[in-house]
């Protein structure tokens, strides 16, 4: 019985992240539009976009290979699995232990690997440009993330997200320099990884600085829909990760009843809204930077993460 219940909660989480992801994207767009004194599209617009794309005919480039058609599903699967393994409304999900924080980061790395390959598959110059820049960004963002993971894991004594969240709820945590550094670094990485301003602009095409969109140029129809959904999921994942680690309050604990689970869902949506608002505010108040300054931005994130880890190696109380 308990196993079935666990399975239900796990599946509920998988569905929840899938359903909420486009809404979050829509919400960020809406909030950004309002901050810019525009009315903006409806909150539901991303869902409509996905539906429209999936109904359209898919146009494949003549030079594209079988890999090009498989990659959207692989990207989606890797991102979805990663997003389902981050505790959102309830801690201690059934399969949380099957992949720890390092594995979740690496799953996102797999998704990126395939996306970069897709950019190169058709053999256009824009695709190569996007892939090459994406991998440059990743070479700095990924180690920064691992350093953040190290900081959290050293504090909590575990790389399991559930354990980290439990530690954050315990009174042992207190105010720590290393946690502050990790939070700042994680926010920076999240912005870079999701291709938001100032690293990349999700709203433009045909800009010399584009990264993520350049890799998708040749995709259309259902393939594009799947990739767009994966991109939304990734944004949701990073916000969930920040929420789970730094704001774990309100999460349903293992063994809690349905009421607590529902309250957990409410708290989770609230946290996402706060995160989305912050993202919209940040994006509105900052300008896009040149591609070759991205390394400074992410290098700073890497150094912050390393500093956090070093502090913990020096003393567990920092």
């Amino acid at each position: 019985m308990a196993v079935i219940l666990d399975l239900v909660v796990q599946n509920a989480q998988m569905l929840l992240v899938l359903l909420l992801a486009p809404l979050l994207t829509g919400f960020v767009r809406k909030a950004k539009a309002r901050l810019q004194r525009r009315r903006g599209p409806s909150l539901l617009q991303p869902y409509r976009d996905l539906l429209r794309l999936s109904r359209k005919e898919t146009v494949l480039a003549e030079e594209s290979s079988w890999l090009f058609r498989v990659i959207p599903y692989l990207i989606f699967a890797a991102t979805w699995v990663a997003a389902s393994l981050v505790p959102t409304f309830a801690a201690g999900l059934m399969f949380n232990w099957s992949a720890d924080l390092i594995a979740i980061i690496a799953l996102l790395g797999s998704a990126r690997f395939f996306l970069a390959l897709a950019g190169m598959d058709v053999g256009t110059s824009f695709g190569g440009l996007g892939s090459s820049r994406e991998m440059m960004i990743a070479t700095l963002a990924e180690p920064a993330t691992i350093m953040i993971v190290f900081t959290l894991a050293l504090l909590a004594g575990s790389t399991q997200l559930s354990q980290v969240a439990a530690f954050m709820l315990s009174p042992a945590v207190g105010l720590r320099v290393s946690l502050g550094l990790a939070l700042v670094a994680l926010v920076m990485v999240a912005i870079a990884e999701n291709g938001r301003i100032p690293i990349d602009n999700p709203a433009t095409h045909l800009e010399l600085t584009m990264v993520h969109e350049a890799m998708l140029l040749e995709y259309s129809g259902r393939h594009l829909a799947v990739i767009e959904l994966a991109a939304s999921l990734k944004l949701l994942l990073y916000l969930s990760l920040i929420a789970c680690v730094f704001l774990p309050w309100g999460q349903a604990q293992p063994g809690a009843g349905p009421a607590a689970q529902l309250a957990g869902v409410g708290a989770y949506i609230g946290k996402l809204a706060v995160g989305g608002l912050f993202l919209a505010w940040f994006e509105t108040s900052i300008a896009k930077m040149r591609v070759f300054r991205v390394s400074d931005f992410l290098g700073a994130a890497l150094m912050l993460g390393l500093l956090g880890t070093l502090l913990l190696f020096v003393s567990r109380s920092l």
Binding site: S54, V59, L60, A61, E62, E63, S65, W66, Y73, F76, A77, W80, V81, W97, S98, A99, D100, A103, A106, L107, G109, S110, L117, G119, D121, V122, G123, T124, S125, G127, G128, L129, S131, M135, M136, A138, T139, E142, P143, I146, M147, F150, L154, S158, T159, Q160, Q163, H205, L206, L217, E218, G221, A225, V226, F292, L302, G305, L306, L310, F313
Partner: protein, 669 residues
């Protein structure tokens, strides 16, 4: 498996080598030789695995060969069995591949006899139980591989590669010779058992460690002793490149482990410092160099340096943990290193085979002349993709599993009491993470340029899939990459006896954990389940594909590429290998390579093309090797005069040296 058995199959390999030498020019003799080697290596692999899993006792034999007062010792213990498995697995795969590949060699008889000899040499290094047999086998391995590097000696650059290789190999053997001399002590105990019995003083241990790092490290390709590796490994025929990169570097790792973990006695904490620093540096520098290369096989050779760096980081951590008495942590770090040894043997062999297949199909190694091979060589491109994913440490493949274990070991290191380690280990962790991310970038580049996109030149356009033997070898290695990644617990349990023998502890048994997950310390601390992650990805991907195909539009149309409305028909407008590396070169290159770009932009109206010239400096070569070479030639020029003296002066020289030596002997206490 007893040591007798090991020796017997070394002898059979040598017999095959002699047969190949005698029948070099006969039709199909190379296929027969490689077939025989495949069978022998396969039997060896099975025997080694059985020994490792069954936990058979050590066995040692002494033959009246070699130095008269020592004899030749050969022994098989857990460490030997593991490395025998790695050597013979790589050997079996390479021979299977070569059955097909050797048909495309212009002069197969130049390499056929040396491959069995090379395999026998590597087996013998691992089996050796005394310093003399070890060094003899080591030198035999070096020389037979040198002969293989020189197989295509008329091609440009091969002669130089062979020259640099033989110089560095001699240097390495010299360092190992001195290391064993120090280990043996004044009594001259050259048998491993006798060396183990007495312990070296800290100063002497430091010298031995430095010499072992220089000797084994130069063979393994640690920076800055790596210069020969990217020259020699690509110069050999591809199956030999795979053997050298995938297997011979592992034999070097074996030599290092044998000396430092086994013969040197209880470690000191500071011994971990140089290993960690050099390992971390090699990891990052190796992959950065790889990123800058445009020759496919050179990229793979440089990436070997990176992986060897990862392995040495694991070894350094294990040493530091063991010195402080954290034996389970030491077992974890050592297991991570050995797991990576196995993984690297899998995927680097696979990738070199793939590079060989590309070479056979197109005659090209230059990445910028290839492209679009995924349509011409579907099977090769699929297995090569698995290799690229595995080496980029992507879950759920095997590269990630060992990398994950290494990270877990690093996370245990705050308990180390020494400040030097406390400060170095997190930095090394950052280097490890950086090298993993760079490896992903490097292999996206390799795969994207070589296999994806449009063919850049006619050679790539006319490529055809390679023969069945080569495909079978590549596919089985790819399958092993997947299996080791999905079921890492099996490998960890298999390595437990090795860890037990070397650091006196083992990781907790993994096979009993639910769902075949792995938990290095405790499940509440960290766990990873490759099988479930693999299953989840497969299920979600098929679910998504099913839903899309069931409910979404299935209309599909082929059309010219869009490329923002400006598609260019010329395939040369695609990103090149160098162009792809440019952002990363800009970020890291000015610091690591002192890279400089010179742009030559014609004035408006001029018709000559614009040019960009990039200069990269290999600092290891320019700062270390070039001055040494200069000094050697300077001294040689001065000494040259001695060759043109009269007979009287020569006689007096002999006389005075004799007097001097006798005096020295008389004065010596």
């Amino acid at each position: 498996m007893s040591a007798w058995f090991g020796l017997a199959w070394v002898c059979v390999l040598m017999a095959v080598a002699v047969f190949a030498l005698l029948n070099g020019r006969a039709q199909n003799s190379s296929a027969a030789v490689y077939g025989a080697c495949f069978l022998i290596s396969f039997v060896g692999l099975l025997a080694a695995l059985i020994h490792l899993i069954s936990g058979a006792p050590e066995s040692e034999i002494v033959l009246p060969l070699g130095l008269p007062w020592i004899g030749a010792h050969f022994r098989v213990d857990a460490l030997t069995a593991f490395f025998l498995a790695v050597v013979n697995l790589g050997g079996a795969a390479a021979c299977l591949y070569a059955i097909g590949y050797a048909r495309h060699e212009a002069e197969p008889q130049r390499s056929t006899p040396f491959v069995p000899a090379f395999l026998a040499g590597m087996n013998l290094v691992v089996l050796a139980g005394d310093a003399f047999s070890f060094l003899f086998a080591w030198e035999f391995m070096s020389l037979s591989s040198w002969a293989l590097v020189m197989a295509h000696h008329r091609e440009e650059g091969v002669a130089r590669a062979g020259y640099v290789y033989i110089v560095m190999a001699s240097f390495g053997t010299l360092a190992l010779l001195l290391a064993f001399g120090l280990l043996a002590g004044p009594q001259g105990d050259y048998a491993f058992a006798a060396i183990r019995a007495h312990q070296a003083s800290p100063l002497r241990a430091g010298f031995i460690l430095a010499l072992a790092l220089a000797g084994a490290g130069s063979k393994a390709g640690l920076v800055p002793l790596h210069v020969w590796l990217p020259l020699a490994h690509p110069a050999a025929p591809s199956h030999v490149s795979a053997l050298m990169s995938g297997v011979m570097t592992k034999v070097a790792v074996y030599g290092f482990i044998r000396i430092v973990f086994d013969l040197l006695g209880p470690p000191q904490w500071w011994q971990g410092l140089p290993i960690l620093a050099i390992g971390g540096g090699s990891a990052v520098l190796g992959v950065l160099y790889a990123m800058m290369q445009t020759d496919l096989k050179r990229v793979l050779a440089y990436s070997t340096i990176e992986n060897i760096g990862l392995i040495f980081v694991g070894l350094g951590l294990a040493l530091a943990f063991e010195a402080n008495g954290f034996r389970t942590a030491a077992a974890l770090a050592l297991t991570a290193a050995l797991f990576h040894v196995l993984n690297h043997a899998f995927f680097k062999s696979l990738l070199f085979f793939g590079a060989g297949a590309v070479l056979v199909a197109t005659g090209e190694r230059e990445m910028d002349r290839l492209g679009g091979l995924i349509r011409r060589m579907p099977v090769t491109s699929f297995v090569f993709l698995i290799g690229c994913m595995a080496i980029s440490a992507l879950p759920p493949l095997n590269g990630f599993a060992s990398e994950w274990l290494a990270f877990q070991a690093i996370l245990l290191s705050p308990q180390l009491p020494q400040w030097g380690l406390k400060l170095l280990v997190p930095a090394v962790g950052a280097l490890l993470a950086l090298s993993a991310a760079l490896a992903a970038a490097c292999f996206v580049r390799v795969y994207g340029i070589v296999f994806l996109g449009r063919p850049r030149f006619a050679a790539a356009k006319g490529a055809e899939e390679v023969d069945q033997w080569s495909l079978a070898a590549m596919a089985s290695l790819a399958a092993l990459c997947v299996i080791a990644g999905v079921l890492p617990g099996l490998v960890i349990d298999g390595l437990a006896p090795v860890a037990q023998a070397l650091v006196g502890a083992r990781m907790p048994a993994q096979a009993s954990l639910p769902w075949l997950s792995i938990a290095p310390i405790a499940e509440s601390r960290s766990s990873y389940n490759g099988l479930l992650v693999f299953a989840f990805i497969a299920m979600s991907a098929s679910l998504a594909a099913y839903v899309i195909h069931r409910f979404a539009s299935r209309a599909l149309r082929r059309a010219p590429a869009w490329d923002c409305g400006y598609p260019d028909a010329s395939p040369l407008t695609q990103y090149s290998a160098e162009g792809f590396a440019q952002p990363i070169r800009r970020v890291f290159g000015t610091f690591v390579f002192r890279a400089s770009e010179r742009i030559d932009m014609p004035a408006p109206g001029e018709t000559r093309p614009a040019r960009i010239d990039v200069t990269l400096h290999d600092l290891a070569w320019e700062l270390i090797y070039a001055p040494i070479a200069l000094a050697v030639s300077f001294v040689a020029e001065r000494l040259n005069r001695i060759q043109y003296l009269t007979i009287r002066i020569y006689l007096s020289l002999v006389f005075f040296s004799l007097v001097f030596l006798l005096l020295a002997l008389a004065v010596w206490p």
